[in-house]
Assembly symmetry: C2
């Protein structure tokens, strides 16, 4: 088994080489459930919207030519022959010299091609005095001017926000086809890891990673399925991995890849299918013991046991794959510029990620304060960090007060 430590860039390139973002298929979703999902079909309008010429003002539907020359001093007088309400199909026709009362949104009656605003008229009995001339189509929204029949309104791959759901409703669609959500199997290994709800024995810790990773999976457009803490036993782990691989689109384990005879995970991944492990350790800090493999095109990430390291590597390397399996754009994580609150050291020859908390100083400068990572197992590191500062392999440190870019964790509470 090869054990060459890859650089961060090599690891990313290797993943790119093996990852085939398969289309996972689609499913029908009723409109409200389609919210925040990814459209998997082009939406072609079966309707003109509006479906009729429509008044955009309260006023009177007229023939524009009847109003030629009308002004404050020389009103044109027309005969009001009826009234049209919104939602009603007009049964009335406007002839030369006639006008029909109309409200905003109501369909134009036959024969009329413009609307005179109510404030430009005076209505006495059946007589209407028009004080302003209108041109053809004035105050009229033409049939199909909003959306044309047969037009492609939304494209496959579009993420459906409120506006898009509004457009789909306008077309009268009760449901649309959306991409399936990638299922991500999340499981934990390591003899010290205890499932929630069980009694904690001395020397053991609760299964933090499965939960922080699962929520990060949700934030990345995936559906986590918890496979529990797998006992430190090769056969048991192989069996769970096999089930995970057949039922999920991707597998993420944490713990159990650091050292020692009990670290079977990579061996099992290799044994389950080709190509097996393709990244065996990465020259990063934290996160060095990460392994990444593919079994029949399904990515398998084995993240370190330390909560901060595991979540960091998840964000850096696993999240983009979930987004792509979900058919979502892989927009980079948001970043802000700030100043280092203290000197930050890098690990020799490794791409280093320093967890930081953001604070404003008294001059309103944004300060990136390193979060205590002496104990990288510390769960509070995770809770306190707003993001991280990246230090390149060939740099020894970032000096205090130096300007830095802080990449923000998604779902971070930082208000910047």
């Amino acid at each position: 088994m090869f054990r060459k430590l890859l650089t961060f860039e090599e690891a990313k390139k290797t993943i790119e080489e093996y990852f085939k973002p398969a289309f996972l298929g689609d499913e029908e979703a009723v409109l409200l459930e389609a919210y925040n999902r990814v459209l998997s079909e082009d939406i072609i309008s079966a309707l003109d919207i509006p479906g009729f010429n429509r008044s955009t003002m309260d006023g009177y539907a007229v023939k524009a030519q009847d109003t030629i020359g009308a002004d404050e001093n020389q009103p044109v007088t027309l005969k009001v022959t009826g009234a049209l309400n919104i939602g009603e199909q007009p049964q009335i026709k406007v002839e030369t010299g006639e006008a029909v009362e109309i409200v905003t949104g109501a369909p134009m009656p036959e024969g009329a091609d413009a609307v005179v605003m109510v404030e430009d008229t005076e209505h006495e009995d059946s007589e209407l005095h028009v004080y302003t001339a209108v041109t053809s189509n004035e105050n009229v929204m033409k049939k199909g001017s909003d959306i044309k029949k047969d037009a492609v309104v939304l494209k496959k791959g579009q993420v459906l926000g409120s506006s898009e759901i509004g457009v789909l409703a306008a077309l009268g669609l009760k449901s649309v086809k959306v991409q399936k959500i990638p299922v991500v199997a999340v499981l934990s290994t390591g003899g010290e890891v205890t499932e929630l709800g069980r009694e904690l024995q001395t020397g053991k810790i609760y299964d933090i990673n499965a939960y922080s990773i699962s929520t990060a999976v949700i934030e990345s457009g995936g559906k986590p399925v918890y496979f529990g803490v797998v006992p430190d036993d090769k056969a048991a782990l192989a069996k769970v991995m096999q089930t995970a691989l057949t039922s999920a689109d991707m597998v993420i384990t944490s713990g159990g890849v650091s050292v020692g005879p009990k670290d079977y995970t990579p061996q099992i991944v290799d044994s389950l299918g080709k190509p097996g492990i393709v990244v065996y350790g990465i020259a990063v800090k934290p996160g060095k013991p990460t392994t990444i493999g593919f079994v029949c095109d399904k990515p398998v990430f084995s993240l370190p046991g330390h909560p901060t390291s595991a979540l960091l590597i998840f964000y850096l390397l696993a999240r983009p794959l979930i987004l792509r399996l979900a058919g979502r754009p892989t927009t980079p994580m948001k970043a802000v510029r700030g100043f280092a609150g203290a000197r930050m050291f890098s690990a020799k020859g490794r791409r280093t990620f320093v967890m930081v908390k953001l604070e404003f100083d008294k001059d309103c400068r944004l300060i990136a304060e390193p979060v205590e990572t002496g104990a990288s197992g510390a769960i509070t590191t995770l809770a306190n960090a707003d993001g991280f500062v990246e230090i390149a392999e060939n740099e020894q440190f970032v000096d205090a007060d130096q300007e830095v870019e802080v990449t923000l964790f998604r779902g971070s509470a930082a208000k910047v």
Copy 2:
């Protein structure tokens, strides 16, 4: 019935006067379902984390005083008496002159108070040569140093993101108490509005608003419940409103508040309970015919029928109330600075909101291009707008190229 048009600021003040953000109660949620919910209890740690003194390095657990004076030239030699793995309760004790092999994360054995890193040692048979002195507690994470027993770890009102879920998992909590999600009844009125899935008759439109508003309710931390399109009949509407008010925490209707004898909504709200309608029209454009009432402390918003106007007023006035009912912070909508792509006119005496689309020009300046709103019923206006520019009541226009602040719609696809 009073019909005084309030200014935008008066309308906000009036809402503030009548709105009582009641605590809607809480419910138990298992950890993954608690994600993105609002915690409704203080979380006090029942555990020390770590629950034991823990090695933060691979190496050897020793008595620090045994290593005094050790260096490259004068190593100290200790006797290795055993090995400790992660997750195991130590059955071994370190006496003076002894060392125990230990891995990162394993509990410290009794008698040892420091860990010498493996790279600072040489191990021959049962002899360990130590080349560096360590001080007491070096490479040891003390019991409770991450989270202390009885400490308040998370506070009531905290929104639970991935980090917080990780912290709750560390404490072994399978479920927590979270605030109930406010239920918002969404219903549509107006004879022209047709429910999705039905045949569209001439002069009618599909129910866009219920859907765009429902998704905006979700984005605001509420749960929308669709009450359908209510027929244009006073008794029917009164009945539906009554049901909506008893089953939901807030009611949002759209359509049917503009003009004409068919606009019963405000009358019905007034008849259902005190104080009834408190805002009867607002001097804004668009959105003037908005009415807002309270029935037994429950807010009732009647938004205009035009999709863009309805959603705009929702964002400006209804969204903050839903956030507060949900126990969430009412962070202002995000804004960016740009330059007006064209002169934008205000409506005389009314606070004007001009829908804009954001684009970069060739000099990489962010340009706020007004979106065609000639027909404010246009659903494409909604789909094309990234946000809006606000023009004060006493200003006549914003000039082309003038710097403007663009408030962004939530869920907008704009990448800025």
